[in-house]
Amino acid sequence: MAASSAVVAILASIWLCSSIAADASGSSSETTMHTNNWAVLVCTSRFWFNYRHMANTLSLYRTVKRLGIPDERIILMLADDMACNSRNKYPAQVFNNENHWLNLYGDNVEVDYRGYEVTVENFLRVLTGRHESAVPRSKRLLSDEGSHILLYMTGHGGDEFLKFQDSEELQSHDLADAVKQMKEKHRFKELLIMVDTCQAATLFNQLHSPGVLAIASSMKGENSYSHHLDSDVGVSVVDRFTFYTLAFFERLNMYDNASLSRLFNSYDPNLLMSNAYYRTDLYQRNLQEVPVTNFFGSVMETVHTDSAYRAFPQKNTPRETRIRTGKTAEDDSRRSILTDMTKAECPFTRIVSSLESKMETVGNLDSLVNYGLVMILPVLVVSVWLST
């Protein structure tokens, strides 16, 4: 009888497991852990008089890098090259403050998309991961369902649009659509969108995907202003919203536990000359418990797992960080499902393993088979009797 119950249990567990596998897509973001951080930083405007947008983006680039996101996980898009603009009094340097203490365009800035590469098309391709095959890995957002992504955009915006390159627009529904696709393709666990443009809040109107948190520099009908003018360079060098964001982060280091709600509350409408806007209805966690480094930094917990790569000989190395290098984003996500299933201990595997251990406890395998055959006889008799 024990065996029959085991058979029933096997059948039940198969059903259960398949249902869980079907469910995994829906609940993966809740069940998966935050494992890695990405940042997409976009400056969408060209021309010398938009110097401040590039300075905004570069300052944020520096900040997230300082807080621990490595260069290969930052996609930096700069629509123009102010550092080499002939009008720049300080060639190959970009400053975000008139005191010129900090050159943002130092030696180790990796710009992934520059100049005319910064288009709406390329931006959407980066988000959704639908690249042509020739695009190198460094230009791709190789995030997975454990990723926290920071998406920062600055430029000239309006009601439900953001201007790219003086010739194109990204509309709010384009952004929402891209985010939806990312969600479907398990490209993020949580997404923080930060936009510093005029009427930035309107860009979030169409967002529906869960796990998205949005911050905007201004409400509908408001302008976002520049913070100050560098009369030496002759242009405004930073925008107010970004300036105060940076001021907040300058006081932090990698190990600080400042929460997102502290960041959100740090914006003073009088200083910004606009009202910062937060959209939290799609975000499940309590903002007071989420450290800013969840998005702006990359504080990694190292988790020991069995290696995903069977072929590798160093299978039994005691500790291994979970930084994977999948071939494509799709590969990546598929593999992540597998590993996540083992980690969450699917009932099927549990039952199979307990069965196996039980089998091993049974000493005489032949007698078990014999008993089984004997047990089949009454079943046969009953079934014959029933059929007649």
Binding site: N85, S86, R87, N88, L229, S231, D232, V233
Partner: protein, 709 residues
């Protein structure tokens, strides 16, 4: 079946008369009330013109990229002391010496090459402006013959070019300082000081995106000529060596072996023509001594040939920097005599009152303007309109406009002639900072000036009337012309009430061709106008004669021509009914077409012309008719007609205007000739307008007045 029935029903009903479309009906209503319409429209047109100072908007910087005043000035006292050293070296040379001019050029070139910039000389031959009837709208002086100049009329410009260190050198900004190398003038030395201070600073900075060209224009043959010839050589390269060879031989003859001299400076002085990129903007800098000023002032001159204006943004940038950064008073030209007119002040008071009443009724209506503002605005507007209408550039910047380069002349005049070196340095510092600021702002430009207006009238340095507003007055003024022409035509070709038999009716069908004889008359008079406008070309060939003699010859030849034409074309047939109406109708149509065409070429001319021609044409009616009726109304009409036709005669109008502005004391018949000569010498379309539209229409109006009906 049903269909067929319906058709039959439709056929059975009486034939449906198609109702004309609403626009046709509107036209018919307007034409039938043409008298009322024309009175209302003309009044409204003239009122609209006087309302323009009220409707003027404040200027604003339209182009984002300009960012004037966002960068702090980098000019230091060192630049100024260097510039002053140069000015001293230039003025200390003995002006009496024959080769002082050459020596000054050499000094200047040495200073420039010490800065490490490219230096070059540009030789040019001064041309007397000559009347080329076929060159009116062609490219400026493209067909000039270079052979017939004597060696004495050569001038030499000194050109310095700073190459932008990090840019591609496709664009350039031009600074021009007129300087007479042969004469010692303190104000010109001051302008060289300012120019050099800016130039030496710009040769050191790293933020240039456009090359800087400094043209020290040899102004001994006039400021315009030197700049224009340099621009011509800049834009129209000469590939044959003949002309330059000609110039070189001249220099050798005069022992001016300037170009082959060893250069002592950092860079070599080249003899070839040096070019930079396309010009983004040009600033002409002058310093003048004007007595009795309260503070340092900056006068802006912008009008180029045929009333073309530079982009308003350029004026805005200069105005903004001068007022808000350097504390200079900015002026644009105005008619001072307007300020003394009592009735303008009264009009200003009235408008002020109306504005206040409107403001008290509804605080939203803010079109009030204070009386002094209104009068100042009117004086400036009148001057702006006149300068544009004249079509003669108001300074060397006009030469740039011919090549579609935005340019203005900045005339800075110090409060007093500075004797104290400290005060003088401060004046140079402020002026040079202004120029530096403008250059830096224009340097930020990404494209040509295009954001702001090109068609505007200034009512003060910071206020303008755009084309959309000032066109309304003109449109109202000319709108009655086609209506009146149509209504006259309809009246003239009405079937006479007595002729009702079908035979007569058949003839009426041919009557529309009656206007052809009137058209023939109008055409011949216009042909005569062409003849009159071409005459000066031949008259000016007569050697050794005064302008007065020229005028008299011209006048008598024109009158003779008219008489001959009249005798040739005089029809022997008796005058018929409606003939003068037809003539007037066609005349009005011709005036309408002429004014519209002119408004495209030069709006200001058309506006002023319409003010005279429209009433003249609309009121014209044979004097005989009025004399016959002999009522008060007809007497008034006779008086107005005579007055208008007197004023509308171009010489009479010219002398009246001159008399009003300068007093009727010293009048010379030759002045009108000189004035017209300047018009055609500058290729002004106003000359063509006067000769081919205004004068024929005036003659036609006279014909209508003297018609024997």
């Amino acid at each position: 079946m049903a269909k067929v029935e319906k058709k039959e029903v439709a056929a059975a009903t009486p034939p449906w008369k198609p109702k004309p479309r609403p626009i046709v009906r509107l036209g018919i209503v307007l034409i039938s009330h043409s008298l009322l319409v024309s009175v209302v429209c003309c009044t409204a047109g003239i009122v609209a013109l006087f309302l323009l100072p009220m409707l003027a908007k404040n200027t604003y910087i339209s182009e984002n990229a300009l960012m004037p005043g966002s960068a702090s000035s980098m000019l230091s006292n060192h630049d100024i002391s260097e510039a002053e050293r140069l000015a001293k070296d230039l003025t200390s040379l003995n002006s009496g010496a024959a080769d002082a001019g050459i020596e000054r050029r050499r000094v200047l070139a040495k200073y420039l090459s010490d800065l490490g910039v490219e230096v070059g000389y540009h030789k040019f031959q001064s041309h007397q402006n000559q009347f080329h009837p076929l060159h009116f709208f062609s490219s400026p002086d493209s067909g000039l013959s270079q052979e017939n100049g004597s060696c004495s009329s050569y001038g030499i410009n000194v050109v310095g070019i700073i190459r932008a260190p990090q840019a591609d050198g496709k664009e350039a900004i031009v600074l021009v300082t007129p300087f007479n190398f042969r004469k010692n003038s303190s104000s010109e030395a001051l302008s060289i000081s300012i120019g050099y201070a800016v130039f030496s600073l710009l040769s050191r900075v790293s933020w240039l995106a456009k090359d800087i060209i400094w043209l020290v224009a040899d102004s001994q043959y006039g400021e315009y000529a030197s700049v224009a010839s340099w621009l011509r050589d800049y834009h129209i390269p000469v590939f044959s060596a003949s002309s330059s060879h000609n110039a070189d031989s001249c220099f050798e003859g005069n022992n001016i072996n300037l170009l082959r001299e060893e250069s002592p400076g950092r860079t070599e002085i080249s003899s070839g023509f040096r070019r930079a990129g396309t010009m983004a903007a040009a600033l002409v800098l002058k310093v003048t001594d004007v007595k009795g000023q309260l503070e340092d002032t900056l006068s802006v001159y912008a009008e180029a040939s045929n009333g073309q204006m530079p982009n308003l943004d350029l004026i805005n940038v200069v105005n903004y920097l001068a007022v808000h950064r350097q504390g200079l008073r900015v002026k644009v030209e105005k008619f001072l005599s307007v300020l003394t007119w009592e009735w303008i002040w009264m009009l200003g008071d009235t408008l002020n009152f109306i504005g206040k009443v409107a403001g008290s009724l509804n605080p939203e209506w803010k079109f009030g303007i204070s009386t002094p503002d209104y009068v100042e605005g009117t004086a400036t507007l009148a001057s702006s309109l006149y300068r544009q209408a004249l079509g003669i550039p108001t300074g060397p910047h006009g030469a740039f406009r011919d090549f579609q380069v935005d340019a203005i002349t900045l005339e800075i005049s110090p409060k007093v002639v500075y004797t104290n070196q400290g005060r003088r340095n401060e004046f140079i510092l402020r002026s040079a900072r202004l120029i530096e600021g403008v250059v830096r702002s224009v340097n930020n430009l990404l494209e040509k000036f295009h954001q702001s207006f090109f068609l505007y009238l200034l009512t003060s340095p910071a206020k303008f009337v755009s084309v959309g507003v000032y066109m309304i007055g003109f449109a109202l003024l000319v709108a009655p012309l086609p209506l009146v022409a149509a209504s006259l035509y309809v009246d003239a070709n009405k079937p006479e009430p007595s002729s009702q038999d079908p035979k007569q009716k058949l003839q009426i069908n041919f009557k529309p061709w009656k206007w052809l004889s009137a058209a023939k008359q109008v055409f011949t008079v216009h042909a005569w106008g062409v003849f009159v406008s071409l005459l000066p070309y031949f008259i000016s060939q007569i050697p050794n004669s005064t302008p007065a003699a020229h005028s008299i010859i011209w006048f008598s030849l024109s009158t003779f021509g008219l008489l001959v034409l009249y005798l040739i074309t005089k029809s022997p047939s008796k005058p018929q009914k409606g003939k003068w109406e037809n003539l007037k109708s066609v005349t009005i149509s011709a005036v309408f077409i002429g004014l519209l065409l002119m408004s495209v070429v030069n709006f200001a001319t058309a506006q002023i012309g319409a003010l005279v021609l429209v009433p003249a044409c609309l009121l014209a009616q044979p004097l005989k008719l009025d004399i016959r009726t002999a009522s008060l109304k007809s007497f008034l009409r006779i008086a107005t007609n005579v007055f208008i036709s007197f004023v509308a005669f171009p010489p009479a109008g010219f002398f009246i205007l001159k008399g009003v502005n300068e007093g009727f004391g010293n009048m010379d018949v030759g002045e009108f000739w000189t004035w017209l000569e300047s018009l055609w010498a500058w290729n002004s379309a106003t000359y063509i307008y006067i000769g081919m539209v205004h004068l024929p229409c005036w003659v036609l109006c006279l014909q209508i007045l003297l018609h024997s009906c």
